[in-house]
């Protein structure tokens, strides 16, 4: 295939296919992922090509999907679970927090549970309630899990394969409003361009650091472009992994720029943004010229879709955060 322009959705589909071709133990579980190919078509054609035993349409019960996925992992399989929408992961919360995240340490390493939980996340698609949430804070706080976000086709293609290869459980977030954005992917590259858990500086700058992940990366890149027109040089870091957090990458940038804005869709209160603010302030106390500014979803439930444009941090709100940080 070599270098190709493709969407995040297609990159994920191809990444899943590659992983399934490579390792017969990789299986998919989820609601409507078979004939339908999932409501977002991420698993399209995979059941046809790999059979019903490897692409499993499950009953409508998320705890059941997670619980059986863990059991399959204990038997040596590598289940990749699709949660249909962010807001439907909660029925599985107990299995994730009490079992998935803890089995390896409980058994002192005797068992591994390499389960990947794919969650289409975030807002901006005009959906009804429960279909637009950013709930990474819950999982980032749950040690024993790893939590990553892809934000572009290249990462989507590689990160899903890396997540599947990882022996730890991974919550794999996909920015659903970006599924159809395009980018270049070298499908024939011999290996992934970067480690699954490292941050990626997607734009260099000197005046201020913007830290973001998933759907906010595009917003921040756009903001940096607009700011550049006004003569401000912003560095944009796509964190990619929020647990573990590549705090060294953020710190290095902040040591250089002296200022940090964190942009996320999730409400700010007790969030990944809070943690980044706390850690960076601890580590860069003397180099910070302003407090860490968080630009985030409001501290409310996600609103009805007619209001979501006012809820989601957009380019203007990110720039407002940049202004506030630079005003110190």
């Amino acid at each position: 295939m070599s270098m190709q322009k493709t969407t995040i959705a297609k990159a994920l589909n191809t990444g899943l296919r590659r992983a399934m071709e490579r390792d017969p133990k990789v299986i998919l579980q989820g609601e409507d992922i078979g004939k339908l190919g999932g409501v977002f078509r991420i698993t399209e054609h995979l059941q046809k090509d790999f059979g019903e035993d490897r692409v499993i349409d499950t009953p409508l019960a998320e705890s059941g999907i997670l619980g059986t996925g863990i059991g399959l992992a204990l038997r040596g399989y590598r289940p990749v679970i699709e949660i249909q929408f962010d807001g439907f992961v909660y029925p599985a919360f107990d299995q994730i927090v009490s079992q998935l995240s803890k089995l390896h340490s409980r058994s002192r390493g005797a068992v591994k549970v390499p389960v990947v939980v794919r969650i289409p996340m975030g807002g901006g698609i005009g959906a009804v309630e429960h279909h637009s949430e950013s709930n990474e804070a819950y999982f980032a706080h749950t040690l024993g899990l790893r939590v990553v976000f892809c934000s572009n086709p290249e990462d989507a293609y590689w990160m899903i394969q890396q997540a599947i290869e990882c022996d730890d459980p991974v919550i794999f977030y996909e920015p659903k409003r970006r599924y159809h954005e395009k980018g270049e992917v070298d499908f024939d590259a011999p290996s992934a361009p970067r480690d699954l858990f490292s941050a990626h500086t997607v734009r260099e700058g000197t005046d201020l650091t913007l830290a973001c992940w998933g759907p906010m990366v595009k917003v921040c890149l756009d903001a940096a472009r607009v700011a550049a027109e006004e003569g401000r040089s912003l560095e944009v870091i796509d964190l990619r992994s929020v647990s573990p957090l590549d705090i060294d990458a953020i710190t290095r940038s902040v040591e250089k720029t002296g200022r940090l804005v964190v942009a996320q869709e999730a409400p700010s209160f007790v969030s990944v943004g809070s943690e980044i603010a706390a850690l960076v302030t601890e580590r860069c106390f003397y180099s910070l010229e302003s407090p860490v500014i968080r630009v985030a979803g409001w501290n409310t439930p996600y609103p009805a879709s007619k209001l979501e444009e006012h809820y989601l941090p957009d380019l203007d709100r990110v720039l407002d955060g940049v202004d506030r940080a630079l005003a110190y």
């Binding site: 409507d32 249909q84 409310t300 609103p303 203007d316």
Partner: protein, 402 residues
Amino acid sequence: MSDTDVAASPSGGMDHHVSVDPAIVTEPRPAADGGPDMVQLLTPEGERVHHTEYDAIIDALSHDELRAFYRDLVLIRRVDQEATALQRQGELGLWASLLGQEAAQIGCGRAMRTQDHAFPGYREHGIAWTRGLDPMRLIAMYRGVDKGAWDPAEFGFHGYTIVIGNQSLIGTGYAMGIQRDGAVGTGDDQRDAAVIACMGDGATAQGDNNEAFVFAGVYNSPVVFFCQNNQWAISEPNARQTRAPIYKRADGFGFPGIRVDGNDVLASYAVTKTMLDRARSGDGPSLVEAYTYRMAAHTTSDDPTKYRVSAEVEIWKLRDPIARYKRWLMSEGIADHDYFEAIDREADELGEHVRTATVSMPDPDVGDIFDQVYVEPHQQVADDKATFTAYLESFEGQEVQA
């Protein structure tokens, strides 16, 4: 529910991985729509099937009441059609069609008394209609204006519930409240109350619904679990959700389960009424499986050609709930051509109203994001509202960037 089908590439309907039982496709047999245990009072051809247990209930209905059922069926179908069309025109974010399930819902809803309470999913437009809820309230939700913000107490009809299974437990708890209020088994028709808790066939797999069965059984609560088995949970057929017929689930939880022809408004009414009466009089919960069919896509975002064959839909067209009921009303002389025409006119007017009311619906206020998150003030929400207000004000007079 799936509200995005972004990559949907209509595959033309008939590909090699169809899942419908070939026997059903090649040879439509009336019995195949629910088996011998299914209560049916009206055949797809509109003939009354007599039933010792339920005949009296139907006989007790006046012609006015029987005609009103018809009106309900036709009007709610029209609302549904308009909403589907409005979604296609971009006026709604999504719509979940009840097409084909009108009889199940109208029968159920009309079996309820004023003091009863229904706990719906997201497709219960027919039950909502019988409770006097303006369909525009449903449309407002699917338009994204609000999240279904009516007052349940006003209608005995609670908020639409999207997370599968949640409402059954909540309804069971409500029924426990009815018990504690002494509103069960008093014999007072104005007082004794019961709950309808709705679920789909797919929903029966969810832990919450099974826990609801446990709680209702243990406490003998006045709740009727009303399961509309429309054969599909998005793309998954019944066989992916349960190995046994749904109505048989109840027995193992200690209460009766019954399968009724969900395309037969008389049967749905009679069976639900019987079970509601039972609940109100203190005899406890029950499970009604209304055997029906989702004639439309799962939602306006869904593409059913990916997973089911049109032949299956064709078979179910022959079992249409409105056509059979109309035939029966006519053959019994309960309603005539003029009546049907009048209803059609009313439907046209309603459709017109839905269209204009939708496009003229005002957008919500941004304050809605922050207001009513809590009953009492909350520091962090208040801070955010203040921040946002100041932020908005900062744009006043100036053009918005980018």
